[in-house]
Amino acid sequence: MNIISELENFLITEVSVDYGLDKKSVASDENLISSGIIDSMGILKLVSFMEKNFGIKINNEDIVPENFQTLNALKEFVEKKVKKII
C-alpha cells in the first residue's frame, strides 16, 4: 500500500479537478489547503475516500490542519490510524 500515491491520485482525479485546477502531481509537502486543492467540500470527499480505501475510522476531532495540511501529514495520520495508535 503506497499511501501517498493513492492519496495523490485521488486528490488529482477527484478533488482538485472540481475546482479547475489542472494538477498533474502534488508535492508531498505542498500545502493542500492554501493551494486550493482541498476546500470544505473536498475534505468531506477525502475523508470518505480515506475511510473506505484504508479501512480506517476518522473521528471528526481528527479533522484538523496538522493531519490534513500536506500529503506527508495525511500519510502519517493514516499510518497511525492503521496501526491504531490514534
Binding site: 476546500d39 468531506l44 471528526n60 476531532e61 479533522i63 484538523v64
Partner: protein, 381 residues
C-alpha cells in the same frame, strides 16, 4: 429490513403528541402576532424531557437512540402547532447540545449540558455572518490567543435564540492562512465581557422563535472554553449540520402528518355540490400527494437516522433529506390551504402560519440550492 418501531417507541411518540396538544398550543395565534417567545412553554418541554432525550442520563437526559428521538420529535411536530417554539428547541439540541456532547471536554459537558437539558439555560449557535451565509466558512469573526484567553471580534447574524440565550457556540477564525481549517469554535457565556446581542430580527414566520445579531467586541473567552482543538471548527460545524439537516426536520414530518389528518377530516366534512369535497378528484389527489410526500420524506429521514446510529457518514443522505423534506413541507402547507379554500387563508385556521413558518425550512441549515450543490458533488458532477 424491519420497518417496525417497538411498542415503547410508539408509546413515546403518542405521549409526546398528547403532551404537546395539552400543554403547548395555547395562544399560538397571539404569540405569533406579537412575535413572543414563551419561556414557560420552553420549560414545560424541558420538564417533559424533550431537550434531553438523546443525551446521557448523567446530564439529565434519557439516553434515547437517534431513531427513538426522531419519533419523539415527529410527535412534537404533530401535537404542537407552535413551529417557532419547536424550531428554537431543535436549534439548541442539534447545534449547541450535540456539538458540546461530541466535542466537549468532560468539564465542559458537566458545566453546560445539564443546564441545557434541564431548560435552565438556553443555547444559541453563532455561525452565520452578514457576509457569510451559504458560503459558511468565509468568516470575518476572528479569535486571537492572548495567553490564557482568546479575544473575539466580529458580528454574527440570524442567530436563533440569541435574545434569550445564556450560552453561545461562536465560530471564529484563529488562522486565516488555513482557510476553512483555520476556524475554531468557542463556548461563550452571555456574561462574558464584549458580547452584545442586538435587537430582535423580525421574520416572515417562526415568529415565536427569537432571533437577533450578536456583536463581539474584544469578547474575552477563557482558553478552557474553546471547543475542541484550534482548526477543528469546520469539522464541528459539519458534524452539527448533518444532525440539523436530519433531526431538525423530524418535527416537520409531524407537521405534515397533522396537516394530512386535518385535510382528510375537512375533505370528509366539507360538502359542496351535495357531496364531501373529498369525493372530487381534484381534492382527493392533492391529499394523496400529501401522503406520498409524507411517507417518502419519512423513509429518507429514517435512512439518515440509521446511518448516524450505525456511526456512518451521512453527508449526501442528510442533504437529500433536507432538500426533499423542506420542499415537501412547503408544498404540504400550500395544499392544506388550497384544500380548505377561503378558510385556509384565514388566521383562525392556523394553516397560513404553517406556510409562513415552512418557508424558512428551505433556507436554514443550507438553502435548497446548496443542498443540490452538495448532492451534485457527491455524485461526482
Amino acid at each position: 429490513m424491519d420497518f417496525d418501531f417497538t411498542s415503547e417507541q410508539l408509546e413515546l411518540k403518542i405521549n409526546t403528541i398528547k403532551f404537546a396538544q395539552k400543554e403547548l398550543n395555547e395562544n399560538v395565534i397571539l404569540r405569533d402576532r406579537e412575535g413572543s417567545f414563551s419561556k414557560d412553554l420552553w420549560q414545560k418541554c424541558a420538564d417533559f424531557g424533550i431537550l434531553g432525550f438523546p443525551f446521557p442520563k448523567e446530564y439529565g437526559g434519557a439516553d434515547c437512540d437517534i431513531l427513538t428521538t426522531l419519533l419523539i420529535m415527529e410527535g412534537l411536530g404533530c401535537g404542537c402547532k407552535d413551529s417557532g417554539l419547536i424550531f428554537s428547541i431543535n436549534g439548541q439540541m442539534w447545534t449547541v447540545q450535540m456539538p458540546i456532547f461530541h466535542f466537549g471536554t468532560p468539564e465542559q459537558k458537566t458545566k453546560y449540558l445539564s443546564k441545557l437539558c434541564s431548560g435552565e439555560w438556553i443555547g444559541a449557535n453563532g455561525m452565520t455572518e452578514p457576509g457569510s451565509g451559504s458560503d459558511s466558512f468565509a468568516l470575518s469573526t476572528t479569535a486571537k490567543l492572548k495567553g490564557d484567553y482568546y479575544l473575539l471580534n466580529g458580528a454574527k447574524t440570524f442567530i436563533t435564540n440569541a435574545p434569550t440565550a445564556d450560552l453561545f457556540i461562536i465560530f471564529a477564525t484563529t488562522d486565516k492562512s488555513k482557510g476553512f481549517m483555520g476556524i475554531t469554535a468557542f463556548l461563550v457565556e452571555k456574561g462574558f465581557p464584549g458580547l452584545k446581542v442586538s435587537k430582535e430580527i423580525e421574520k416572515m414566520g417562526l415568529k415565536t422563535s427569537p432571533m437577533a445579531e450578536v456583536i463581539l467586541e474584544d469578547c474575552k473567552v477563557p482558553v478552557e472554553n474553546r471547543l475542541s482543538k484550534e482548526g477543528n471548527g469546520a469539522a464541528i460545524f459539519n458534524d452539527g449540520i448533518e444532525w440539523e439537516r436530519s433531526c431538525m426536520l423530524a418535527s416537520d414530518i409531524g407537521v405534515m402528518e397533522r396537516q394530512l389528518k386535518e385535510c382528510v377530516k375537512y375533505a370528509k366534512e366539507r360538502r359542496q355540490f351535495n357531496k364531501p369535497i373529498g369525493k372530487f378528484q381534484a381534492i382527493a389527489n392533492k391529499i394523496v400527494d400529501m401522503k406520498v410526500r409524507l411517507e417518502t420524506a419519512r423513509l429518507i429521514l429514517y435512512k439518515v437516522a440509521w446511518l448516524k446510529k450505525t456511526q456512518n457518514r451521512a453527508g449526501m443522505e442528510a442533504a437529500l433529506a433536507k432538500l426533499y423534506l423542506s420542499e415537501s413541507l412547503v408544498k404540504s402547507c400550500l395544499d392544506a390551504i388550497q384544500i380548505h379554500g377561503g378558510y385556509g387563508y384565514t388566521t383562525e385556521y392556523e394553516l397560513e402560519r404553517d406556510l409562513r413558518d415552512s418557508v424558512a425550512s428551505t433556507l436554514y441549515s443550507g438553502t435548497s440550492e446548496i443542498q443540490k450543490n452538495i448532492i451534485a458533488e457527491y455524485l461526482g458532477l
